[in-house]
Structures are given as structure tokens and as C-alpha cells.
């Protein structure tokens, strides 16, 4: 038996219990009430405290339903966010990246990159050889990788004109990140620095890497062994003495506000890992199975799937609370990306939505 199997078994039993026994509003209300009376008798709680407990209970009760019955959230739950753009592109976009007031989508059937704008128009489409693994926006253009074909292509963001980028002897480019003008690309040999101008690609970090994130002048790696490391984005030298072991390597990481945010694919929680100590300081429960996370200046945006559909949730990184559970989708969300004012989400039914805050 593996540690992983033991953890999965306990989580399976615990999660099943929670699923099969959703918290009952009236039961919780009664218990809060009983507790209030008990305290009044034994501790002599003053009227002000009792009132505040009652207020707290009412506030709890008002919020419990939305916490424990994710399948049927009340309409009020959707306040604060608006879908301001919805575009049908006819085929699912597996990867999406946004910047300014545009988003660039990578589709697989057929393989192409599409630029959509916040006014709902499609600016251009460029066919490529797929399947496509990742797409990102850098200062010099839109980068698209195909791990299966070992190709890396840079597209002009305005016109969509493609330019193939040489990878030398490196193969299978999958995840990417742009730092200090140059791309960092995860390949079969490790993380490779790919210069935009002259110069050959160079190996920055040897070893199997699953995902990468950039933050606080460091390049963060999640290795296939389930270890998070930080390296200098230019030299590859480790910037932290300690590494952090996480429960599963089949996961993703992102960086926001002095912390690494980690989520296992298919899991139901998002974990905050302190960048300086490597310790887990918070585990946030998600309203469904984790699909993807991205951050903007104000918060964490998470898409989750539940049954045939899913949801976009905004979490407050300061205390882990749900800021807005905005949109419940009838179709499964596939990827998301934040721009200056909103969040783009691609859906399995071949549509793209852009969500903005009302406030």
C-alpha cells in the first residue's frame, strides 16, 4: 500500500460522508441555539453576547446553505459578477491566455489559435499542427507549444502570423512561462530558457517538471516527484535552501502574494504554501473538482467542475473566504485566464465567456 493510496482512501471515505450527509440547516440552527442557552446558564453570558451569538448564528445560517449545498446555490450567490461577453467558436478551447482586452485560444479539433476581443469579435484564426499543449502571452508575441510534435511557435498578436522557434536538441515542449523577455519552457529534458532574439536554447533546470510559475523574482517548479523548488530565472541556481514536498505531482501551481497556490488535478481543495517557509498555511475547500486557477491583482479565480457543468469562484487570498461564486456553467469549464478587468473562461461546449466584477 502506498501513502498516496492511504490518503486517497481516507479522503474518499470522508468526502463520501460529506456528500451523503449535507449539513442540515435546521439542525445546525438548533444546535447553535442550544449552545447559546447552555452558555447562558453556565457562564451567565450577558445579553449583548447572546445577541451577538444570535447575530452570528443568523449570519451562519444565512450562509450555510450556500456552503454545503453547492448543487443548488441561491440566486443571490451570483451577485457581484457579470458575464459581459459570450462567444461561440464551435470547438472547445483547451488553453486560453488573456491580456489587455483580448484573449488567445488554442483549440485541438481543428488545431488553431484564435484571437477574440472583449467586444465579442473574432480578430483572426491561425491553423497550426496540433495537438497544442500550452499558450501564453509574452512581450514578443503569443507562444504556442505542442509537446507531441515538439514544436514551439510564436504568433504576432495583432495578425496571427506564425514563426517557428527552434528548440535545438530539446523535445516535447509543454508548459511555458515568460520571464524577463525570454521564455522558460518545460521540455522532456527539463526547463529550457528560450531566448527571443539571438542565441540558442539552454538548459536551466535538468529533470522532470510538471508545472511552472513566476513570482517574487524566482521561477517556481513543481517536479514530477511532487517537490516545489525555486530557482533563479536566469541562472537556474536554487533561490531557497529548502524544498517543499506536496501530496501529489499531478497538480498545478501559481504564485500570488508571497505564496504558492497548489491544487491537485481533480482534487477539491486549493492549498496555500508560504514561499519562505514552504509550510502549508491554508487549505481552501472548493465547490467542485479543481480544473484551473489564475490570479489577478485582487484575488484568486478558480474554475471547478461538478457533474456536466462547473463554476467560476473568486477566493480572497487574504483569508481564504469565497468572495463571489459567480457563474454556474451548464458545460464543463476547461481553462481560464485573467486580464486587466476580467476573467476569460473556455467551456467544453465550444464557447468562451468573459466575466467582470460589478463593483
Amino acid at each position: 500500500m502506498t501513502d498516496d493510496r492511504l490518503g486517497k482512501a481516507l479522503k474518499s471515505v470522508g468526502d463520501r460522508y460529506i456528500r451523503e450527509n449535507p449539513a442540515e440547516l435546521e439542525k445546525v440552527r438548533a444546535r447553535v441555539g442550544r449552545e447559546r442557552v447552555r452558555r447562558r446558564i453556565w457562564i451567565g453570558v450577558g445579553a449583548a453576547t447572546v445577541t451577538s451569538v444570535a447575530v452570528a448564528a443568523i449570519v451562519y445560517v444565512a450562509n450555510i446553505e450556500r456552503t454545503v449545498t453547492n448543487e443548488h446555490p441561491p440566486a443571490a450567490w451570483t451577485q457581484g459578477l457579470t458575464v459581459d461577453v459570450e462567444i461561440e467558436i464551435g470547438t472547445p478551447a483547451t488553453e486560453i491566455v488573456a491580456a489587455g482586452s483580448s484573449a488567445w485560444l488554442a483549440t485541438d479539433s481543428p488545431a488553431k489559435v484564435i484571437r477574440v476581443d472583449a467586444d465579442g469579435s473574432i480578430a483572426w484564426e491561425t491553423p497550426l499542427e496540433g495537438p497544442l499543449s500550452d499558450i501564453l502571452r509574452g512581450p514578443s508575441g503569443i507562444w504556442v507549444s505542442s509537446a507531441e510534435r515538439s514544436t514551439l511557435v510564436r504568433l504576432d498578436p495583432e495578425t496571427g502570423d506564425p514563426t517557428e522557434v527552434g528548440l535545438g536538441s530539446f523535445t516535447a515542449p509543454s508548459r511555458m512561462h515568460i520571464a524577463q523577455e525570454n521564455a522558460r519552457v518545460v521540455t522532456a529534458q527539463g526547463v529550457v530558457k528560450v531566448p527571443v532574439g539571438a542565441g540558442a536554447p539552454s538548459l536551466l533546470y535538468p529533470g522532470a517538471v510538471v508545472d511552472v510559475a513566476m513570482g517574487n523574482n524566482a521561477f517556481w517548479l513543481l517536479t514530477a516527484e511532487g517537490v516545489i523548488e525555486a530557482i533563479d530565472p536566469d541562472t537556474g541556481v536554487p533561490t531557497l535552501l529548502e524544498t517543499t514536498t506536496v501530496p501529489a505531482a499531478d497538480a498545478e501551481i501559481t504564485f500570488l502574494r508571497e505564496a504558492i497556490w497548489y491544487a491537485a488535478r481533480g482534487g477539491v481543495s486549493l492549498r496555500r504554501i508560504d514561499e519562505s517557509t514552504g509550510s502549508t498555511t491554508r487549505v481552501m475547500q472548493l465547490p467542485g473538482g479543481y480544473v484551473d486557477v489564475d490570479a489577478d491583482a485582487n484575488g484568486l479565480w478558480v474554475i471547478t467542475e461538478s457533474g456536466e457543468g462547473g463554476a467560476l469562484t473568486e477566493l480572497d487570498p487574504a483569508d481564504g473566504s469565497v468572495m463571489d461564486v459567480s457563474i454556474e456553467f451548464d458545460s464543463a469549464p476547461l481553462d481560464l485566464s485573467t486580464d486587466d478587468e476580467g476573467v476569460w473562461v473556455s467551456l467544453a461546449d465550444g464557447s468562451i465567456v468573459r466575466v467582470t466584477r460589478d463593483r
Binding site: L10, G14, R271, D319, V322
Partner: protein
């Protein structure tokens, strides 16, 4: 007056946030430790009641959610240690086993063996295993939650792994290496 109201509002806001985000995870933790749903519910409600009563401590905690988890674990330990509840828990375990055997094997698969093996562990080892593998806490974090030295946590985890390996007939990877 307005300052008091501000403090109350802040307390309610944080407690509400704690409740929204952590009620189910805490319930899950208590359920896996205790093996019984109603007891787990009571423990979590009691934990929130304690948090209200000891707000001055909760508000000073660096991570209130971690503080809540600590309260829940302590309440679990306290419940297990009480003889009366020990008997009740035993009866509940019997009922739970009956429930499980009533279900189809497809519902639970191999999880039953592991679940039973974990439930059979002594209180401290069970809690350490649950915190390690359900909550994904590190050994130092577990030590903080149950207020024991890290060395004790390690030895308890090691013993628990050996017992699980004996019961399940296969070594636990973490122990073998």
C-alpha cells in the same frame, strides 16, 4: 459603542468566513477520526461554540482555521477518552460496519480494508494518521496541532504504519523507505 460594534462585526465576519469555508472540512476530519457522523457533527458545533467563547484567543491566532482544527482534534481526543462515549463509539462502529457490509463492494472497493485498519488504531496513532494523510499535514504541523514533540509524532506515525502494514498485508511506502 461604534468601536464595539466594529469589533463585533469583525468577529462575525471572521467567524462566518471560518464557518463557510471550514465547516465541512472540519466535519470530514472529525468523521474520519471518530467514525461516526452525529458525533462528528457535535464536535464541530462544539468547536465553533468554543471559538465564540474564546474569541480573544481565536482572534490572536495567526491562522484561525488551524486553531479551529486544533480545537476539533482536542475535542475528538476528549470524546474518545471518556468511557461512556467510548462505549457509544464502539456501538456506533458496530453500526457503521453493518452499514458498510450492507453496501455493495463497488461502492467502497478496497477502501473498506484501509478504513477498518485505520479505525482500529489507538487514539493517538489514528489522529496522527488522519492528520497526515487526510489533512496532508507535515510532522511538525501535526506536532503543533496535538501539542506533542515532533519526535513523538514521528514514532507514533511509524508505529501506525507498521500496524497498518500488518493488518493490510503490505508495507507502507513511507515506512519501507
Amino acid at each position: 459603542m461604534s468601536r464595539d460594534r466594529e469589533l463585533e462585526r469583525e468577529r462575525d465576519r471572521i467567524l462566518t468566513s471560518l464557518f463557510i469555508d471550514h465547516y465541512d472540512p472540519l466535519r470530514r476530519l472529525a468523521y474520519v477520526v471518530m467514525g461516526d457522523g452525529p458525533i462528528a457533527e457535535e464536535i464541530v458545533m462544539e468547536a465553533f461554540a468554543k471559538a465564540m467563547a474564546k474569541w480573544h484567543l481565536v482572534s490572536k491566532a495567526d491562522y484561525p482555521a488551524a486553531y479551529m482544527r486544533q480545537i476539533v482534534v482536542n475535542l475528538c481526543r476528549s470524546k474518545i477518552r471518556r468511557n461512556i462515549l467510548e462505549r457509544k463509539v464502539g456501538e456506533m462502529f458496530k453500526r457503521r460496519e453493518e452499514d458498510i457490509t450492507d453496501r455493495t463492494a463497488e461502492d467502497y472497493g478496497m477502501d473498506i480494508d484501509i478504513w477498518k485498519a485505520v479505525q482500529s488504531l489507538p487514539e493517538r496513532q489514528r489522529i496522527v494518521v488522519v492528520l497526515r494523510y487526510l489533512e496532508d499535514l507535515s510532522e511538525p504541523e501535526i506536532a503543533e496541532v496535538i501539542d506533542l514533540p515532533v519526535g513523538t509524532v514521528k514514532s507514533q506515525l511509524s508505529r501506525a504504519r507498521r500496524k497498518l502494514a500488518d493488518k493490510l498485508g503490505a508495507p507502507v511506502v513511507g515506512e519501507a523507505s
